[in-house]
């Protein structure tokens, strides 16, 4: 298909989205990631029955925490697709990129970068 999608995205493979814990969703933001999205199988198609539903619940839970602490829950999103659905994968990546561009940089990253560059944020 040779589809293209935004290069800013780093893919982390997991055996099933059910493996993704709330902590896995929090840590990237703590390290400065601007956004995180979880791509699972279509609802009802999980090989382990409920893996993607667990991921969905954890994404919702983490979004609330991110909203509470001012990072913004919209930076985290769950998508579902079939494993052979390349066009949707590329579309989700574009969609997420647009969402993050609209949200602006993660405020944590701004602080971390200032510190790295010898800023006086401390």
């Amino acid at each position: 298909m040779r589809l293209s999608y935004p290069t800013a995205i780093k893919i982390i493979r997991v055996p099933c989205t059910g493996k993704v814990d709330t902590l896995h969703l929090m840590r990237p933001f703590e390290k400065g990631a601007d956004g995180v999205y979880v791509v699972g199988c279509r609802e009802g198609d999980c090989h382990y029955n409920s893996g993607n539903f667990r991921a969905k619940a954890r994404v919702e839970q983490t979004r609330k925490v991110l909203d509470t602490i001012g990072i913004g829950g919209q930076r985290l999103q769950m998508y579902n697709l079939s494993s052979s659905d390349g066009p949707s994968f590329a579309r989700f990546a574009e969609e997420m990129q647009a969402r993050i561009v609209a949200a602006g940089p993660n405020p944590i990253r701004t602080v971390l970068e200032k510190r790295k560059n010898g800023g006086t944020q401390r």
């Binding site: 709330t22 902590l23 929090m26 933001f29 703590e30 925490v65 509470t68 001012g70 944590i108």
Partner: protein, 222 residues
Amino acid sequence: MIVAEKKPIEEIIDTVKDCQSILVLGCNECVTVCEAGGKKEVGLLASALRMHFLQQGRDVNIGERTLERQCDHEYLEEIRDIIDLYETVVSIACGVGVQFTAEKYQTKPVYPGVNTLFMGANEARGVWSERCQGCGQCLLAVSGGICPVSRCAKRILNGPCGGSSGGKCEIHKDVPCGWQLIIDRLKALGRMDDYEKITPIKDWSSDRAGGPRKVVREDLKL
């Protein structure tokens, strides 16, 4: 197990907003099972606090530790060597753990990170419900294994009351009538004769009415 639920992060942030270093202390027992105060929740709360303070440009040292239990001296001793690295402790164990930690480390402020609710069972994924109130004088032998103290809103020992309708309690349509459950269970056991027996007035002195309770086992003392 003891069932607790997480306090809202806003409330915890407000409590520790002026602190410079915080130890988030979890417990591997009941609160881990009810997903309110175990190792994962310690990580989640610590991460949220870190991000909150980082956004303000503040360098607050947030430590994470989860003990086997916070209600035993032996396990609480494990943090003696690190406790002084922190200005304050947020304990996400049950109220027992919070208090025992505070008692052990007298000069360290210890704040609760969960609301401790009741002794209950895990009915289904994400659902916990009360089963025992620790009244100190168990009646389960005469009530078919269903507790009238914890399952009946009025703690009636010879029920049901007039508020029982269609198997539900009058306090809420989703609350089963404890006495309906008892009767159903006695029927299933073929022990409806027991239902006719009048349970005498209960001695509530072993409940909270007698003040803070204590068990002393001379046979176990060293």
